[in-house]
């Protein structure tokens, strides 16, 4: 079968690397998807150079998943074009599927099959052949630390194990392009960290990775480039550093001891702020963007002393991805997250 379905080698040789330098692993131009009156994706452009990691960052309902579904042939775009691994997603979807590995938002493992059976089945459906499918299943179980659980049905797996099995499923055919839709959503912090380490190791091997996330930390940690998307549009793009520079300046952050002190702290920081203040009442934390660093901090501490406030914590910091998000969307990341998802009008439990 492998003669008929040639597999694309993962390790790029010098010549293919040169070829990919001119044609990126993923390229999308003006992608649009509408659901009735709702425009889920309103003209998204993306370029992922081969061997790099791109994070599509945005809150729920921003259009991330819809974009990914168009790139992975699960959804036909209403407008625009896209190529993945050099193949047009609309013209030749099956060839695209041969060259990608997809792992969705919910771990789509068959819980009544064992870990081994799940991966073996995926290998057969990639047409790797009986022998190679088995070998590959064991390799991946080993690599993903699931060998001990290989013969247990996936129903008995923890959330983290299911996610690893699902990810392993995406890697069965050693695809040159890997697409992960919110790979750590729903995982506990420890499993999330494990997953990040796993992904970091993986992309070190030269795979192109496109991932979506609503976690700023995740984008910052894994991605070479970040595309921020909101309401179906790209609102910013660049490296984490570039995005922070785009937002500019530094922040003075003050945490006070009592609720009553918050207003006083707001008043003090107003005097030095060059932009909007960020007030987190429950944490009793006030943050202000400022122009010059340390003198401002000294000035703030003096003023606080004059009005009789001893802050629990006060400091100067560079903008975080949260600040980037706040500046770009006008809302903090955790406030934007959780709004309705127009990209998913139907289907329970099935990924949009």
């Amino acid at each position: 079968m492998s003669e008929v379905f040639p597999r694309v080698p993962v390790m790029a040789t010098a010549s293919t690397a040169a070829a990919r330098a001119v044609s990126p692993a993923v390229e999308a131009r003006g992608l649009v998807k509408r659901y009735g009156d709702v425009t889920a994706v309103a003209g998204v452009d993306l370029t992922v150079p081969a061997g790099t990691v791109l994070a599509l960052l945005g809150p729920n309902g921003a259009g991330k998943t819809t974009t990914v579904r168009m790139l992975t042939t699960l959804l036909v775009p209403d407008e625009g074009t896209a190529t993945v691994a050099g193949v047009d997603v609309v013209a030749d979807p099956r060839e695209v599927r041969r060259r990608i590995g997809l792992s969705g938002q919910y771990a789509a493992v068959d819980e009544n099959l064992t870990g081994f059976e799940n991966l073996d089945m995926v290998g057969r459906l990639y047409h790797l052949g009986r022998k190679r499918s088995r070998e590959r299943a064991w390799e991946l179980l080993e690599q993903f630390d699931l060998t001990d659980a290989a013969k247990r049905v996936a129903k008995t797996y923890s959330g983290g194990m299911r996610r690893r099995l699902d990810l392993a499923g995406a890697l069965v055919a050693e695809p040159p392009v890997l697409v992960l839709d919110e790979p750590t959503t729903g995982l506990d912090p420890r499993s999330r960290n494990d997953m990040w380490e796993l992904l970091t190791r993986m992309v070190g091997g030269g795979t192109t990775l496109l991932l979506t996330t609503q976690y700023l930390e995740e984008a910052e940690r894994l991605a070479d480039d970040i595309v921020v998307i909101d309401h179906g549009r790209v609102i910013a793009r660049g490296t984490a550093d570039e995005l922070k520079t785009q937002v500019g300046g530094q922040r003075v952050e003050v945490v006070v001891a009592t609720d009553g002190d918050v207003d006083a702290a707001v008043a003090v920081l107003h005097e030095v702020a060059v932009g909007e203040l960020q007030v987190e009442r429950r944490a009793r934390r006030v943050t202000a963007p400022v122009t010059s660093g340390t003198q401002v901090l000294v000035q703030v501490l003096q003023r606080l002393g004059e009005v009789g406030i001893v802050p629990l914590d006060a400091g100067l910091r560079r903008p975080t991805m949260d600040d980037v998000f706040l500046t770009l969307t006008g809302k903090p990341a955790d406030e934007v997250a959780g709004v309705d998802e127009p990209a998913r009008p139907v289907g329970e439990g099935v990924r949009p």
Binding site: M1, V4, F5, Y35, T72, T73, L74, L75, V76, R94, E95, R97, R98, I100, L102, G104, Q105, Y106, A107, A108, D110, E111, N112, L113, E117, M121, V122, R124, L125, Y126, H127, V153, G169, P345, V346, G347, E348, G349, V350, R351
Partner: protein, 264 residues
Amino acid sequence: MSAVGVVLADSSVIAKRNMLKITRIPDLLVGTLISPIMFILLFGYVFGGAIDVPNYREFIVPGIFAQTVIFGATITGAGIADDMQKGIIERFRSLPMAQSAVLVGRTASDVVLNVIVTVIMSLTGLVIGWRIRTSFLDAVVGFALLLLFAYALSWVMGLLGLLIRTPEAFNNLTFLTIFPLTFITNAFVPLETFPGPLQTIAQWNPVSTLVQAARERFGNVPPGTELGTWSLQNSELYTLLWIVVILAVFVPLATRQYRRAAAR
């Protein structure tokens, strides 16, 4: 490998997965295997005394065969709805496999299940006095007709599973449709007992003609049975026509819906 070869190879992978799955869910297995035995015993002995048919237990066994394989066909839809809900279909759709393989494999594995169930029902039937009074070949044709009809229906169920997307809702719907479909027939009582319009429906209901054809092939038609309509006089042909029409309509519809289903 040819396109047909790919479809067959992929479908067999899916069918194997479904069979494995059945062995992993003991409840399902026990329910599927025990319930036909229970039905044969319950109907044979509970209604047997009240319904005026000579040798009622022999009369009813082909009826229960038909009802059971038709319920067996609904497993296709419930399984597909479950796969939709859990995102398994989405994973399949992202693989370079044949697009029709999920449905072809699913319907095929449900035939295998129906064969096993039919064997168990036949043995139970033999124990309570049901007999094949014709030839071996006739019996094979009778069983083939039952399985073929169920196979055709499983494509209808597959389409419904793709549309409904949750196994609970799917099971509710099939409960409400399959019971009338199999009860407004000659499966459990003679057609003469139905009141006017209901009798006409029952006479033209393909489940009635399936049961009639099976009884003829097994030699279980009670003496003096009236065959008032063309459908019953030509029960085998009429049933086969239904099978062909159902397959011709629902195979393409279900396949098209599969392509669309996850693509919303």
